[in-house]
Symmetry: C2
Subunit: 331 residues, 2 copies
């Protein structure tokens, strides 16, 4: 049996988002930093949940959102991530498979439950994430299906997952298999605290094994310990082939060798929930890039997908992104 | 310990809604009647789920939605319904308690899983529901907490639940306890197929034990086997003290003895998902009625709450209904 070919394989923390609206006072009362991503243990998860208002559950996870975005553009996507064999794990798998994303990672039969992220959305659309990783953290090299990596034009990995030694080993293994097959490797830095904790490991991984780096402004500054965005953009060019740097409403900068492509943010009527903006930018860019489109067009697809996702609650597209791209004259 | 007083106690099927957008072709392909509510078994639930697209999970259940609506108006609400001690059951209980609804029904420790309703929303906003009742059907008289019934100004029961002999017995018990305490009893007919199946039992229950009946046009016509709405409205007056009849965009009719109050539907910019319209109408009406407001004002609160719920996906209010009522000059 020949493995199907994929445009994009993403690897990350398989997380169900538990989204609730909160006011600013709630964020203060719970001692949270607005806009941050916090890792929490089971006891804190239960405590926070008991303080939160009613919520909506929807599949999420940074790299999972990216895979969903690629599929919505009509790209062939695969996903590797760890859930438990419980109700939320079943929901996660359903949501992936139902949009045509290949998802074959074995579910854990015991141990911690499927991961949840309590996403608290303030009236300004900002999201403060509190993630209980649960079953996620048990992703190891054994879960990296070599045949899927070999069949994917690009393997994209989520920095959030790059925390435990086993996951780091899984990343290095995936990158090695991808490169040996002549495929591209990619990583998103995910979070500036993530970068703080693992700066040297990230730099080492990027220099040795990564072709395309995704980062937002604070992440790339953190990686090079600088306050100068242009300096950071110059630095990343010495360390990888292609970098995609997103700057929220200021748009994005794509750098490749001496090339510099600046693309504005796609206009949004009202920002409802910024969750998934970076994930969907990556989806649009990777879809375009793996289809051989120019950098500017690929980044514009990223901007469009990011704009769609922040105009509603939840980090999975609510419309067909390929049709949206057609309607906007981008494809 | 004295039990807290409640404005409204609702009793019904505790169901997690699994909401997905579908096109008209999907409804046809799955042999569904658009706009209907179908009871499905576990095998069909799994089959349908595997055919459906990605979904959002949110607590639902007709009477549960009504309790949530009463709480959103600032009313004191309680709920009785059966979930299992699983992840979805935990979500259901959280969502109730987090909005201040008293929910003390013991969770089932074994047997069928927490109920799910696959709600397929077509582009016109219509919803076709496919409900796997799971743990729901095991609600019995033992789950009807007498002290909660005695503490509630009105006990409102959902016709959907009025199917198995044990649930029918639970309804009769709740009505008896409520009346003995000098409180009001209420029922919603829920669904015309529901009425078809149990017409004589419904009529018998209403005549012997119910003060306030809620029904939409097709349900009240079905109850009296007539095509004449006015005739059905006259008939229900002979069988109960107060009837609240909803007619979708045509508004509602409240009848009490010789009184007839006609209230228009509250205008809606765009209908997104009609799920929960009747449930929230009941919430607004019961909140007003138990606070001693006139029939017209109570029905207007119902119209307002129904309009809020159909203007977004999901059957739980997304805004504070008390504030919305203030902003609309209704309170």
């Amino acid at each position: 049996m020949t493995m199907q070919q994929f445009d994009v394989l993403t690897i990350g923390n398989a997380i169900v988002d538990v989204i609730a609206k909160v006011n600013e006072a709630f964020v203060v009362r719970e001692n949270l930093v607005k806009g941050s991503m916090n890792l929490i243990d089971e006891a804190r998860a239960e405590q926070l949940y008991s303080h939160m208002g009613p919520a909506t559950e929807i599949s999420g996870g940074s790299a999972g959102n990216t895979a969903a975005g690629v599929a919505s553009f009509g790209g062939l996507a695969a996903y590797i991530g760890k859930v438990k064999d419980d109700q939320l794990g079943g929901i996660y798998a359903h949501d992936m498979k139902s949009i045509g994303v290949h998802f074959g990672t074995a579910k854990a039969s015991d141990g911690a439950a499927t991961a949840r992220s309590f996403i608290l959305v303030t009236p300004d659309g900002e999201r403060t994430m509190n993630t209980y990783l649960g079953a996620c953290v048990n992703l190891t090299t054994a879960d990296v299906a070599d045949d899927v990596v070999q069949a994917a034009k690009v393997t994209y990995m989520e920095g959030y997952l790059y925390d435990k030694p086993e996951a780091k080993a899984a990343f290095r293994h995936a990158a090695k298999v991808a490169r040996a097959a002549g495929n591209l490797t990619s990583i998103t830095l995910s979070d500036s605290f993530c970068v703080e904790r693992h700066r040297d490991d990230f730099l080492d991984l990027i220099r040795s094994s990564i072709d395309i780096v995704f980062a937002n402004e604070s992440e790339i500054k953190s990686l090079y310990k600088t306050d100068n965005f242009d300096g950071a953009a110059a630095a990343i060019m010495r360390d990888c082939r292609l970098a995609v740097l997103t700057r929220s409403h200021k748009g994005s900068l794509v750098v490749r060798g001496d090339e510099r492509v600046i693309v504005p943010a796609h206009p949004v009527e009202k920002v409802i929930d910024v969750t998934g903006a970076g994930d969907l930018f990556a989806a649009g860019f990777l879809f375009g890039h793996t289809r051989g489109l120019p950098l500017r067009q690929s980044a514009s697809l990223g901007s469009l997908a990011a704009a769609e996702i922040i105009s509603h609650t939840g980090a999975r597209p609510e419309v067909n992104l390929l049709k949206l791209a057609h309607d906007n004259g981008l494809i």
